[in-house]
C-alpha cells in the first residue's frame, strides 16, 4: 500500500477529450495509490470524490486542498491538476521528510495558442500542481492560514511556502526536487470564469515562451498529440 494520496483538482472546465486522456495518464502514473478527486461536478474517478463547495477563486482552491488533505489518511499527499501530465516518478521518485513540502522543478510548459514547443526556465519556482508534501504539514500550514485570514488577500494566497512571511504565519519547510521525467503544464484558456474574457485571453496569449525550448523530449515525445486534445 502506498504512503501517498493524490489530490486531483479539477474545475471540470477543460475539454472532454483532453480530460479523459489526462485522467488515464494520471491513473497510470499513480501506480495504484489512492486518488481523491476534488471537482465541481460529481466524478467517477479515483477512490473518493469531494464536490467543491465554494466559489471559483484562489482562496477556495486552498480550502479544497485542505478538505482533501483531511480526508486522506496517508503520511504524504501530492497535488495533481487537470491541465498537467504526470509521470509516476514525479510522485514516487522523491519523498520529502514528513514535515516538508517539496515542489518539482522539472516542468515543461506548453501553450495551446502557440507553436507546439515545450518551454521552460531554470528558475526555481514553487507551483501548486507539482507539490508533494507531508499531509500533516500541509494541513497545519493551511489551517493556520485560514484561521488568521478567513479570506486571504489574493496577492498572498498562493503556494505553501511562498507567502507565510507576508501573512505573518509560521514559515513552511519547503524544498525543490527534480523528477527524472519532466511534468507538463498546459497553458490554456479554460481557467476560471474570471479570466476567460477577450482581454484576458489576449493578454495571456502575449505571454512569451520560456528560453529552454524543445520539440521532442524523453518520455513525452512530441507535444502535437496533447495540443490536439486540448480543443
Amino acid at each position: 500500500m502506498s504512503n501517498l494520496t493524490i489530490l486531483y483538482l479539477t474545475a471540470n472546465r477543460v475539454p472532454e477529450k483532453w480530460h479523459s486522456y489526462q485522467m488515464d495518464v494520471l491513473l497510470t502514473a499513480s501506480n495504484g495509490c489512492e486518488i481523491i478527486t476534488i471537482s465541481r461536478e460529481p466524478m467517477k474517478f479515483g477512490d473518493k470524490n469531494i464536490i467543491q463547495d465554494g466559489g471559483l477563486g484562489v482562496n477556495n482552491i486552498y480550502r479544497q486542498i485542505l478538505r482533501g488533505a483531511k480526508l486522506a489518511t496517508t503520511p504524504f499527499i501530492a497535488i495533481a491538476e487537470d491541465d498537467c501530465l504526470y509521470a509516476s516518478d514525479h510522485f514516487f521518485a522523491f519523498t520529502p521528510q514528513i514535515d516538508e513540502i517539496a515542489y518539482n522543478q522539472y516542468r515543461w510548459n506548453l501553450y495551446t495558442w502557440a507553436k507546439p514547443i515545450y518551454s521552460m526556465e531554470k528558475k526555481q519556482s514553487y507551483i501548486n500542481a507539482f507539490m508533494v508534501g507531508g499531509r500533516l504539514a500541509v494541513i497545519k500550514s493551511l489551517e493556520e492560514r485560514f484561521d488568521k485570514y478567513p479570506l486571504v488577500p489574493v496577492e498572498h494566497c498562493n503556494e505553501i511556502g511562498k507567502s507565510e512571511k507576508y501573512l505573518g504565519l509560521t514559515p513552511a519547510k519547503t524544498l525543490p526536487f527534480w523528477s527524472y521525467n519532466g511534468v507538463i503544464q498546459i497553458d490554456h484558456d479554460y481557467f476560471t470564469n474570471e479570466n476567460t474574457g477577450k482581454e484576458a485571453i489576449e493578454h495571456r496569449h502575449k505571454k512569451q515562451m520560456k528560453r529552454i525550448q524543445a520539440y521532442t523530449i524523453p518520455y513525452w515525445e512530441s507535444p502535437d498529440k496533447y495540443l490536439k486534445l486540448f480543443v
Binding site: 522543478q105 528558475k123 519532466g182 524543445a214 520539440y215 521532442t216 523530449i217 524523453p218
Partner: protein, 230 residues
Amino acid sequence: MIEQMTVIYLTASMLEKHKPHFAAYQKEVLLEAIKDTPIISVSREPLNFGHNILDDGKKCTDNIYRQMLRACKVAETKYVAVAEDDCLYHEFHFTFRRPCDNEVLYDRNRATLFTWGIPVYHWRNRLSNAALIAPREYLIDALEERYTKWPDGCPENRVGEVGRGMVERNLGVGLRNCCDTHAAKVAFIQVNHDWASEERQRKHRKSYGEIQAYDIPYWGRAEEILKHFR
C-alpha cells in the same frame, strides 16, 4: 558584424587534428553566427582563423585563462565573447544581452551533448567559460589580478570561471560581478568528447543534466548534430 565585440576562439587544436570534419563545421556555424565580427583565435597549432595567437603554455585549466588574457589584450573592442571549439553558437548568444561595464555575463541556455551514450540534449545548472561575454577591460582587470596574486599560475584545484564566487574566494582575489540569470532565446550547444581538456569528459564520467530534450528549435535532433562528430 556584432557591434563592439571580438570573439576569442579557444582551441587546443585536438579537434582540428582528430575530428577535422567537425572542426570545419563548427567554424562554419560560428561564422554564420558572428558574420565578420573580429576573431582572435588561440590555438596550439597555427590556425588560419581570425587573428591567430599560438598557445605558449602547458595544457592546464589555468593556462586557458592566461591565453584569454593574452587575447583580451590583443582585442580592441569594448566587449569580448569566448567561443570554444567544441561549441555550436547561434547569433542570439552573442547579441541577447550586453553585460554592464562592471560585470561578466554567462548565457544560461547551454545545451550539452555527449558523443557517447544517449543522443540527448541536456542542461546542467553550472556556469561555463564557453558562455562568457564580458567587457574587455573588466575581464583583463580580473585576470591580471589573478596573475598578480599567483605569478607562477593559479592552483589547478582552485582556478575556474571569472565571476564564480567560490573560485574567486578560493583564489583570494576580488569577487567580480556576475550576471548569470539570463539566457539567449536559442541555446548554444557544447559537445563533450574524447579530446576535451577535462578528464571527466575523456573518461565519460559526466552525468546528464536534469533537463533533457531530443529535438530543439534551430538545431534539430541531437543525433543529427552528433553525426558531424563521426
